[in-house]
Every structure is written in C-alpha cells, then in structure tokens.
Amino acid sequence: MNLHEYQSKFRFAEFGIPIPRGKTASTPQEAYEIARELGCPVVVKAQVLVGGRGKAGGIKVARTPEQAEEYANQILGMKIKGLTVRKVLIDPAANIGQEIYLGVTNDRAAGKPVIMASSEGGVEIEQVARDKPDAIIRERIDPFLGLLDYQTRNLASGINLPYEHWRAFSKIATNLYKCYVASDAVLAEINPLVITKENQLLALDGKMIIDDNALYRQPQLAEMRDTDAEPKEETEARLAGISYVKLNGQIGCMVNGAGLAMTTMDMTRLYGGEEIGPANFLDIGGGAQASKVAAALRIILSDPNVKSVLFNIFGGITRGDEVARGILEALNEVPTRLPMVIRLVGTNAEEGRAIIDNANIPNLTSAATLTEAAKKAVEYARKALAAERGAQ
C-alpha cells in the first residue's frame, strides 16, 4: 500500500526526521490561508500516488498567498497519469544547497533490510542505479541488531558528506530505519534529503510503501489508504478477498492461484497478439463458493473493455463439480450475454464439464486444455471487436 508524500513525511516527523512545516489543502481558499500563515514563497505540491508530478505541472512555487490560491485552483482536480488530484501539500520553499538520496528497503536476495544513500538526490534511484551505479552506497542491516552507528557513518563517508553534517545525517538515517520497522514498510525513502543554504538537513520529499501483509497490525496506517487512487473494482475485490488487478485488454480472466492467473493472462496475449490481451489479473483463491465466484464475475463484467470471459480452474483440493455449480449460481446472479469459455481440470473435472454442458447456456462453452481455452476466448474477443468496428 502506497502512502502519499504528506502522509510519509508526517510519519517521518513522528520519528524525529526534520521536514518542512507544511500543511495540506483541499480547496484553493485553504491553500491561501496556509500560504499566508507559513509566509511565502511556498511550494504547492499535488498529492497523487504516481511519479512525474513536476513534469505534469503538479508542483509550483508561489510568491504570494494569492498565487498559492491560483496554483492550488489549477492543480486541484487536475489529472496526473489518470489520477485526480484531491489534495495539495503547501510547504515553505527551501533554499536548496545539495540534494541527497536516502532510502531503506528489502534486499530480497540477501533476505535483509538495506539502507541506501547517494549524492545524486532528486532523481529516481532506479535511474541512478542504471547510469551511475557506483554513486549508490549500500549497507545491509541485520534485522536483529538494527542499523548500527558505524553503518550510518559509512553512508556519510561514501557520499562524501561534509563532516559537519555527519551527526545530523546519522540521526536521520537511524530514525528512518526505526520508522521503516515500526511502520512495516517495504520502502521508506527521502528523495531529496537536502542540505539547505542555512546548513540544515531537511526531508523535502518522502515516499513510503507499507507491506500489505502487515496491515492487520498497522491499523493507523491501514486507515490512510486512499481508495480514490485505485480503480473501484480493485477496492471491491479487496473487500471480497479476491486478488484483482485491472489491465487494458479485452479478455476477463477468472483463475484459481496467482501463478496460474498470470499464466492465463500470458496465454491470451500469446494467442491474441498485439490487438487482444488480458483485461485483468484475478486470483479467486481456494474453494469455489458461488458467492465468491459471483463477486469475481461482477468485478470482471464491470469493465466495459471486456469482450469475452475465460475461466481457468485447476481443481486440486477444490472439486470441479463444485466449481461448475458455483459458476452456474454466479451466472444466475450476474447474468451476461458475453461469450465465456470455461476450462476445468483436476478432481471431478469431467463431472464439472457435464454440469456446464447440461446447463445449456448458449454463450458458455468448455475447453479441454488451456491452449484451446485461450484460443477460443481470443477468437470471441476478436469477433466482438470486429463487430463493433463494423457497427461504427
């Protein structure tokens, strides 16, 4: 789960990391009041969960409260990469001397947290990793010991930080690691961490990603989820206990198991070429209760791009006949005229197929293999698209 810049920075501040004393505004009037209170110049920053806000015109420096109001008016409601800006952060503008990067994340290969610093602040760390890999200094952290003081000094020395800032930098690094652990973060990043012309260290921008698996013990952070920033189908799926990601293709996929769900997507792309592909990732999980199948089907069908539906169910412990009955019940609840292909394998698959066949649903066909199922779903989607074009 991603946190907004202001959420991340306010969280950092709770852990003793210096941040600009800014506030958020939802209306231009609020922006005006905050700018007057803080004193200008201020920076008006769009709060959306995507990168590239600056380039999109979502970050502006205002010289007067009136200008802050005007910029807030422009930025609020603006769409950045498909997401609507609903809040702006008004920060006092800083006199930037130098920009540094500082972040904590998980090193998957080492199985440990890693803290990274770079003198190349202000640009994406991935880009630094590509262009100037030597400019990133890394210290792996023993999860039982935590970040050690000497490691923070290694970072400071590695990025050639002037001695006068070492103490303040070490404190920020230590506190960032504490914040990462206490928040169950998978990423806690300050970029840039600036040295101001007044010789102060300040976290100008912040980003945190929280481990979804740990939200059960982070109720305060779980409440910060911005459901406006995700497609509403994804919110609905999460509440139904279904793993769903909306994509841009035409074939709605309903699968049990994440690996098989990805594979099913890949198959539709393999046989669909550039034109036809998966409309979603959907893992319905174990079991096949009709209620869950119905919820999944409703979510898939709410996407207007979907032209055909592909069910791919491997009945391991789950029995094929139960799955078939679940699908039929779901179709009663959520009727559709879209062409559907169902592929059932594993335990009681034949009984399952018989149940589907006997139901005589004209727009539902079964397939024996994944290849056959994917090809059929692609063919249906292609026909539907051609028909739409013909009708135009």
Binding site: N106, K112, F144, M265
Partner: protein
C-alpha cells in the same frame, strides 16, 4: 529416491486441530505419509485422525522422534511456529501459510542461517515425492513416480505442469513448491543442487515468475554446475511493471524482475523455455 524426504521422514503437523490442518492431515495420511503427531497449544492429549496432539513441538519430538514439520498456522502466529520447530531441532520445516509480513520473514531467515533446519516456503504448496510422501497440499493423484524433478514458486500452476507431465508419461522424483514470497527459506539454486545430486532425478523442470532475481541466479547455477537437462516456464510476461500480481513477491520493481530478462538468462544457460506450460512435456524429449 527423492530429495528432502525419505521413508525415514517422521512428520508432525503444527496447527493440526485447525480446519486446514485437520483436512490436510487426513489427505497426507491417506497418501501414505509417515505422519506421527500434531501440535496445538492447549490441545495436548487430544487425537486427530488417530494421531496424538501435543502442546508443543519439543514434547512431540521427544515422544515420536519427529524430524519434519508442516505448518498450517495463521500468518500472525506462523513465525513463532517456525522458531519453535527450529529450536526443537526439526530438520525439515515446510510452511504453507500465506501472508507473513516481510519483516518477520527477514528475522526468520537470519535465524535459520544459524540453525540446522531447512525451511521450505512460506506461501507454498509444500512437497510431493510420489509414492513416498506428501508434505503439503498438492493433490496426490496428479503425480506419479518417475525421474523428473519439479521446482516451482507457484501452487496451481505447479499442479498444472505436474499433471501435464504425468499425463504425458513423465513421472516425478519430487515436486517442490518453494513459495511465492519475496523471502523464502529455500531458493531455486539450493533445490536445483539437490536435484543435480539426486541419482534418480534425470531431468528437471523449473517454474518461475516475475519479481526478484531468483530465476537469473538459477540460470547462472545451471550454466556453471548442472549436467542434467532443464526445461522451464516463467509466468507473468504480460504483467505490467510496479504492480503486485497476487504473490507478494511477483512484482516488477524498478524495471527489474521481468519475465523477459529471466527467459533470456535461462535460454543463454541452455535451458529449454516453454511459452506455454502445456509444452513442457514435449521439451523433455
């Protein structure tokens, strides 16, 4: 012969009185697994499917000589169950549980390094050695004894491939689900090494997915150390970057961990890579 399990494996079930634990205990016993006991704190003295339940792992080990454990304990309590198994000297620990926070797993991973235990998982279907034992949730009937070793990050996708192998006449020595989390106890390289050393395994099938670099490490290991032929499938070619695809570990981050880079690494190591899992059996000829 199989890897990881043998006729000497004596298995306990942590969380045996739970719904999942009890259901799969029956399945494992029916398969012929040497399942000797279960553990649920506060339920010592009870019996589940004819097996004694103990209050802790130590008591179960002392009473039964258990050397392997399977964990069906909910995510908030699963790390504690793993530590308990490690401290009781269990050699093989299989953790089925999905949803363990990554910070907990980093500690478990560190603790494991200083122990004699091996962990498979978490977030995995466990392992199946056809004709010998089933430690996990894989449906037994999809597999049959033979000479192919299967290692995978996935669950149902693994069943899919194993079932296709069985139907095409290729039996298996062992099918190992290593798990779809970012931090897991046993990785591809360690499992490949076991298959390479296992005299009965002749060919190996690897099933990977987007996220991390475990498949790239596997490719390097295959190139440098493996004499047995390997066929592979990588899921997630059509997945967008930056979005988690179900498994906590299945995410392309910072442009890294794509299916394409993994497939290229495997191909350059001489691995036959299928672009459709149903092709896998034909790649073994």
């Amino acid at each position: 012969m199989a890897i990881l399990v043998s006729k000497d494996t004596r298995l306990i079930v942590q969380g045996i009185t739970g719904r999942e634990g009890s259901f799969h205990t029956k399945q494992m016993i029916d398969y012929g697994t040497n399942l000797v006991a279960g553990v649920t704190p506060g339920k010592g003295g009870e019996w589940v499917h004819g097996k004694p339940v103990f209050d802790n792992v130590k008591k179960a080990v002392d009473a039964t000589g258990a050397n392997a454990s399977i964990i069906y304990v909910a995510a908030p309590y699963a790390p504690d169950a793993i530590y308990e198994a490690i401290d009781a000297g269990i050699e093989l620990i299989v953790c089925i549980t999905e949803g363990i926070p990554i910070l907990d797993m980093m500690k478990v991973y560190e603790y494991l390094k200083h122990s004699n235990s091996r962990l498979i998982g978490p977030n995995c279907p466990g392992l199946l050695a056809p004709g010998i034992a089933k430690i996990g949730i894989m449906p037994g009937y999809i597999a049959k004894p033979g000479n192919v070793g299967v290692v995978s990050k996935s669950g149902t996708l693994t069943y899919e491939v194993v079932y296709a192998l069985t139907n095409a006449g290729w039996g298996q020595t062992t099918c190992v689900g290593i798990g779809g989390d970012p931090i897991i106890g046993t990785n591809f390289v360690e499992t490949l090494q076991m298959f390479e050393e296992d005299p009965e395994t002749e060919k190996v099938v690897l099933i990977g997915e987007i996220g991390g670099r475990a498949e790239v490490d596997a490719a390097e290991f295959i190139r440098a150390h493996m004499t047995k032929p390997v066929a592979a499938f990588i899921a997630g070619k059509s997945a967008p970057p930056g979005t988690r695809m179900g498994h906590a570990g299945a995410i392309i981050e910072g442009g890294e961990g794509t299916a394409t880079e993994k497939i290229e690494a495997l191909l350059s190591a001489g691995v036959r890579v299928a672009d459709n899992p149903e092709q896998i059996p034909s790649l073994l000829h």
